[in-house]
Symmetry: D2
């Protein structure tokens, strides 16, 4: 992909739902980028996001947008089941690719598609937006600078205000692939690769979730390759709001990324009360913008975007190891999970 350094990069947005609008808003604020096309089977949604992004063209079929000769890069925010095919098509068309996680729920398919991306040499970034939150960015830099010494313990909590619909959950690949994967990726980001996992999980929020073979409340014990110990607790329902807390403890100190108050307002009445985030897109709005800006900056600098194809593969492998530990009620070595492993049945 060659381009003159002073003309903006031309994007197609594949998908015009909530995340499509969000990423469109990020792109429209970047002078180095321009949205030229929006694709969505729902014409009205495509039009709405095209207006928002000043895009000239809309398509119903994302493949047409991929093959639009003016398009240099695509942002894939279509339903998960279509990610792999669209990535593959875009890679074959030589377009730079940003794709919401996951590539696929199947490790074999994910590895295959990531190999296509690598062979074609197109830039690829996977949407783990937390890596672009100012607190996590700074935490990683401080860990790598040795500020907390050798990392010894990791702990994370990830809870959503309420479970998604059963229809959504049926296609989600299960809690670890759909929700916990963000915490698992951050564990890799801050501490390193995981060697083995032991998982407890249950459907405590809604028995219907159990009936479709999924869980809504999980606790994972992690042993990292470097010897550090970790825990991750997830829940599909926190009545008080969105709850993300991460802690990295080492021989030289501790870093905590807590759930901040949503605003600086404190109310003194019966106790002192502050507000809490109720929605992940509120909590991570700046991170969503920053990840798109980082993708654009990588493209302009000619550098490989981060997190890339290997992160897509390894975070999925870890999520599948957790799922297997849950299903088989035993400690699972992450390396056991190989390409032939599919979605949990």
């Amino acid at each position: 992909m060659t381009r003159s350094s002073d003309s903006p990069l031309r994007f197609a947005l594949l998908g015009a739902g909530r995340m499509g609008a969000e990423h469109g808003r990020a792109l429209v604020g970047l002078p180095e980028a321009r949205v030229v096309a929006v694709a969505d089977p729902v014409e009205e949604a495509a039009q709405r996001v095209a207006r928002l992004t000043r895009a000239a063209r809309t398509y119903r079929d994302p493949l047409e947008a991929i093959h639009d000769p003016e398009v240099q890069a695509v942002v894939i925010v279509t339903p998960t089941s279509t990610h792999a095919a669209l990535i593959e098509a875009a890679a074959n068309a030589g377009k730079a690719i940003f794709c919401e996680k996951p590539v696929a729920a199947d490790l074999g398919e994910t590895e295959r598609v990531m190999r296509v991306v690598e062979e074609r040499g197109v830039p690829f970034q996977i949407g783990f937006q937390r890596r672009f939150d100012a607190a996590f960015v700074q935490a990683r830099a401080r860990v790598q600078a040795g500020e907390i010494g050798t990392v010894e313990q990791f702990g994370a909590t990830g809870r959503d205000p309420a479970p998604p619909s059963l229809d959504y959950l049926r296609l989600s690949g299960g809690l670890f692939l759909d929700q916990a994967i963000h915490d698992l990726d951050i564990a890799r980001f801050l501490v390193g690769e995981v060697e083995e996992v032991t998982v407890l999980g249950d459907a405590r929020v809604d028995p219907a979730i159990g009936e479709i073979g999924d869980v809504d409340t999980t606790t994972a014990l992690l042993k990292f390759v470097n010897g550090a110990q970790g825990v991750i607790q997830n829940s599909r329902r926190a009545v008080y709001g969105y709850d993300v807390r991460t802690e990295v403890f080492g021989s030289g100190g501790k870093l905590v990324m807590d759930a901040t108050p949503k605003t600086p307002l404190l109310r003194y009445g019966e106790g002192v009360t502050m507000d809490h985030y109720h929605f992940f897109m509120d909590r991570f709005q700046d991170a969503y913008r920053a990840e798109i800006a980082a993708f654009v900056a990588s493209l302009r600098a000619g550098e490989a975007p981060q997190p890339g194809p290997r992160d897509a593969v390894e975070s999925l492998r870890l999520a599948l190891a957790c799922t297997r530990s849950l299903n088989e009620r035993r400690t699972v070595r992450v390396a056991e999970v190989r390409a032939e492993a599919g979605v949990p049945s």
Copy 2:
């Protein structure tokens, strides 16, 4: 100003400096608005913001942008000394106006121009962005809903990391007009009009500031018309960063808008440390975007934007009363400050 409800409002940005870029970025993210022109005597700056905002045209002379027939609304972010003339020209041309504070350092001039705006019936909003910060918005709603009962005491702190240049200060109208006016406006926003002020002030940060007749460290005692008591402390230099804290205390409780940590990261080492904002545009970035969005929403709804011409006049009057109290070393009734009052000599 008539327009079809489905075509975006067409804006000219007058001024292409830091705030011009900021407001441009806000406008470009709003599908209901479009920047069609950017005016700045520095051609390169105008071009840069035009690229950022996808504006088709640039002008060197803001009057030309005002008279561009395609332009329906202007955002004035030119140097303060030009505000009054541009507002007047835009009002006479029937354009909607958003203007950074202040209209002028002179109350007579401010009142005259605001009367032109009111006579022409053009929408006008003055840039007190703090009123759009989520914490202040919520605080006002809670005060008005009676959540803290009768307001009895108000307290505010406003400190900047470092003083601006002497060149800037010479034209600024003094600390109360330039810096404290934000705290004074918030006092009016949350509690109501002020009856009298008693002010202490000194040049403690830099004697050169005293030599040009200004101060850098002030404390104001306020008596509100409704009987509430208030204090505001300002400083031009806080080595630890940007420091804005506001408290409203009433018979039924207390609301505090404290300086939040800049990120959710806590560092445990020698004590527990969190980061602080060092720049007002970081702290209030969302508020800057929200004020522009509110301006656009008011225009589309055909409602008068807030804060409007009367807020421009009354917050200035209050700042001038503080300046007079400082200069004359006495308690000053705000109503003493009439249109004939000019900038502090």
Copy 3:
């Protein structure tokens, strides 16, 4: 006063009310002290505190306890109106004296009695317990070590949950002598002496407080001798609890002693809520113990206890200056308030 260094100091507690019990509990935990007598006109109260403190004797008349030859030191926690006479008697009897604030509501009387103390050379400590709170102790040390550079601004808030009875208020000397004096003393402790004050005050909590010539809601503007600026806001009623916050700002940083949560418990529900202190003796319980321990330690070391007679005089003078500013609606120089000044009429 001579004593062998290995026998404990023998105390009499004058007054067996709530503060008597509190100070008794502090003394009984100190191996270097022993309570040998408790005096209170209410026999039953004296007996109760004697049991608590293992004191051998009770008296109805505090003068008898003062003259008990075994007694080396007295702790005066009788009603305010009796303080001066008991201090004088104890000084004349050569006993070391700890006395709850104030010595008297009258500056002339206070100066006279403090001169007796100084002439007799007996150790004397006045009960400004906040000076022994760990946060204030550390703040003072940091200010004096130059950690925040030159002090430029001081701010304090002092609010009680609810006003005392009108009977109490009638004898209290007014809000500045009774309540604000703690904040005024801390202003002197952390910043230095005050040059002039300007005060707003009103009876907003309860009109009956106004009818007896007192106020319940005040705001004071302070100009310190060293040029620093200060504000203090007080109220007799904070529905959310006891509210003490102090801030010292300087050229090198800022120290804040905020109202801490009462316990480390955070409750996540509708917002995140922490508990608040509702009672000054809870908030300052450790400080009350520490001030008695410091008094005992001073006696054993043969050093003058702090805060001493001059603090009793100067904090009172400052409170009287505030009262005068309130009554005469003008800025008052603290030095105007001389010994002949009495309680506010």
Copy 4:
């Protein structure tokens, strides 16, 4: 044990070390209690605590103090290895017993001695002081009142500033019996009994700790009988201080008992910094006093003190299950650990 309700309970302190002094200080502040004897093989230590507590007699041999006919209750703060024999002697002598944890490192011995206590019918309290911390007390009450609904997840962190000496560790029974037992007991206190545990542990702080067969860094995964999931992370070294954080999450909300700032002082410089506790006796000083007060109150009310013999047994069983999981690298059902299980070899 009979006694007239108006004479104070007469105590012997067995052990005059740091905890002996601490508990002595608590007793001396309670009018319903009196220390009559202190026993310690180090005469000087016994004398020092006797002075502090106004105790009339000292003994070298704790058995003599137990058999002192004036003594009604004993507080056992001798070395751990002597606890069981002293409890048994005191129970046989009909004395009320407060004993620091643990009774013994051996479950069989613990059960045997607790049965003696139960058969003799003497009041017995085990020293899990955290149960008396205001935050934990309130958390338990809120959980039991259903405020957070069904408990679903528990998380705790317990870290000490620095490891004890190797000499101490050799006799300690291992990290789970010595340190983590407090977190395990709180898990039982707030959530209920534990069904199975899976533990990771390593000597990462100091290899010498590994050489004596102990670990210094552990993470435990807990499955509670009621289906809740839990995690506990412990470390023997946190360079930033003492770190205790506990979280209980349920269907109706979340309670967090975080490590509070040590004082209300915030320092604004490079970031905003607050102080941290560095010593468990600072953090839990009030709890240590409250547990003794509760013991005395139970005795006076004729009620069984809490936590009692069953808590001594069950918290030990849980700690032993963790130790076994660590040693055998497998998930261990708590019920597997029976009386015949001894200290980990």
